[in-house]
């Protein structure tokens, strides 16, 4: 058995889970929703095992390093963290419909990694040979994943709010009725960002610490650094906007979607369109 086989089954699990959540929205059958979560858990456990196995395989090849060093590995890890944060929120709040707006992000990541990215285990170049890599990548990606969940929730918010506006007096019907209420969605959005913001802060700080340790400058305005700061500014604005009245609900949801778009650009766009120190995505 190899890690790439396990990754295949993981991808299929996330696809099945997404379809089950869709079926749940259509049928409103609680068992279908529950099985969607169970399949997601199954995929998550497989993916955990696969990441562990890939780690071991790298040692068998004499190139031992944590599986976080190239674009394939980082996309796989990103999708793992998204499912992790989703499962935590699902476990705590049990709003099954959220699954349909979050698990597809993980599915998309896995599908892209497997179909479009080079999955070879490469030896680690000197610049990445540091434990800081581990701390930096894990904190950043957990933060990104929380923002992905917040984005999914915000999209649900925007859909539900629109529906409620158009059918003003009658209660929202159909699929939308399975969504949590706008108040709950707004609150969950805030909670997800409250998890993501400290993690992103830690990610930026560990990145700065690593840069200082390896290059002697904790900040050099490299495009990746700058974009992570842009993301940080956006979410800081989100947090402060909530304190002043009038910035909850719709505007907060939009800010959260914009924040995640910036996050994705920081993660992928910078590598694809701009140049800099973090150019593993060649």
């Amino acid at each position: 058995m190899s890690s790439s086989m396990l990754f295949n089954v993981t991808t299929i699990s996330y696809m099945v889970s997404t379809l089950l959540f869709l079926a749940f929205l259509a049928t409103k059958n609680k068992n279908v929703g529950f099985s969607g979560t169970m399949v997601a858990i199954f995929g998550f456990l497989l993916q955990t095992a696969a990441i562990g196995l890939r780690w071991k395989e790298s040692y068998d090849l004499g190139r031992g390093h944590a599986p976080l060093s190239n674009l394939f590995e980082s996309v796989v890890f990103f999708s793992w963290t998204i499912v992790l944060i989703f499962l935590i929120i699902d476990f705590k709040y049990k709003y099954r419909a959220v699954g349909f707006f979050v698990v597809p992000f993980a599915l998309l990541g896995m599908a892209w990694a497997q179909l479009g990215l080079d999955s070879g285990i490469e030896p680690l170049v000197p610049a990445l040979q540091s434990n800081w890599l581990l701390y930096h990548v894990i904190t950043c990606f957990l933060g990104y994943a929380a923002f992905a969940v917040a984005c999914g929730l915000s999209i649900m918010y925007l859909i539900r709010e629109k529906q409620e506006d158009s059918s003003a007096s009658s209660p929202a019907g159909g699929v939308i009725a399975m969504f949590p209420s706008v108040k709950v969605l707004d609150d969950l959005n805030y909670k997800a960002i409250m998890i993501g913001f400290p993690l992103l802060t830690l990610g930026i700080v560990t990145g700065a610490a690593w840069a200082n340790y390896a290059w002697g400058t904790y900040w050099s305005w490299d495009p990746k650094e700058t974009w992570s700061l842009i993301v940080w500014f956006i979410y800081a604005a989100f947090l402060h906007a909530r304190i002043t009245r009038g910035w909850v609900g719709r505007r907060a949801a939009i800010l959260s979607v914009v924040g995640f778009a910036a996050t994705i650009f920081c993660y992928l766009g910078v590598n694809l369109f701009l140049s800099g120190l973090h150019s593993y995505g060649k």
Partner: protein, 456 residues
Amino acid sequence: MTTTNDRGIAQMLWDFFCSLKLSIFLLIGLAITSIIGTVIPQVPVPSEYIQTISPFKLQLYGKLGFFDMYHSWWFILLLYLLTVNLIACSIKRLPRVWKIISEPTLVMDDGFERSLSLTHEIKATGTAPALKDKMAAFLKAEFAEPIVTEVSGEYHLFAQKNPYCRLGVYVVHLSIVIVFIGALIGSFFGYKAYVNIAEGSSVDSVESRSGKIMDLGFSVRCEKFAVSFYDTGAPKEFKSILTILENGKPVPGYENVKVIVNDPLTYKGITFYQSSYGAAGDTLYRFSVRKRTGGQPVPLITHEQDRTPLPDGSFMQIIGIAPEVGSDFPGCSGPGAKLEITRPDGRKEYSIVLLNPACRDFDEKRGGDLIFTFDGKDEKYFTGLQVAKDPGVWVVWLGCSLMVIGICMAFFMSHKRIWIRVGNGRVTLGGTASKNPAGFELVFQELAAKLDSGTK
């Protein structure tokens, strides 16, 4: 007249800087303007880029400081505005928050009770003083030690948890100011520089990025540099062996220190980072010479340009060197050298020596009375080191640590307060929390349920 006007302006400025709208504007503004510097190349601007844009754009970008955007006056101004905004906002709000912590509302009167969203009333048997003691014990066991106040025959108990987490926000804001201070200290009193040191040589000054020569106050010698590769051909490790010298003498503990990428050397606040390497040009070649009549071979170490004396008074000089001679000398692939030997009488001889072990005896066949062999070459490298001095870096780390602590205080801790009013035969419970109202409601209901079963 002017004084009131001045006060008016000061007041306006103060209100302006206390506004949270300004903060949101500044945060979003910084986010948007920061994009410019990630799209337009920053100094040193590659000349290929300059050729692709029109002269008008070049001038415009130059005027606006887009090529060194993060140090342009308007970007720095935004950062200063953010700092002033942050300090003003915090100064304005801190006293109110401090009052909540230092002068808690000890008494839950009717008006205050109505303002609380969580209240619970219980009928209880017993006199007020007896109930009060029971309630105090209850709060102490289940929540926190209460403060008891007596007001006209009724007792008011107040207990709280984590009051100081209300300061979390201000810890975060302070930490940002501290990070800025650290960055300023670094930019005024530190420098970044770069230096190349050839193997075997030393330097006592470095050239900063702005072109200034910075005296180190000590010397650094590069003893050796080595690079190793994976079997894929990708580099595996760049390694410099460095020694610090004070007055020409090695400093104990700083001799032959290994410096690799991600593992620098720091001495007297100055840090040396492995950054690049290259060929230093003067490769050392090793030959030996022996007499055909016998005797020990004599080793010779020479540079490409050297005239090297031989034991018999001759001189030897390399006049040609090739890294690969396999095509001229089949079976002898590898480097080879052509030597010119000037005998004491001025006569010149020429010798060809090959490094390949199978062809070591090539010169023997020449028939001369001196026989040369090629024993090896030591290619010399220089190591490229980045040099940094940043006395503000500890301040920055202090700020970063405070920031993480402050964010955790602000987000994950909650100031929980519980009041109990005890009258004759009646107990009223009230509570509020600064964060996570849903979570606190559960805590509150549990307390109320315990109180119900305890007083029945």
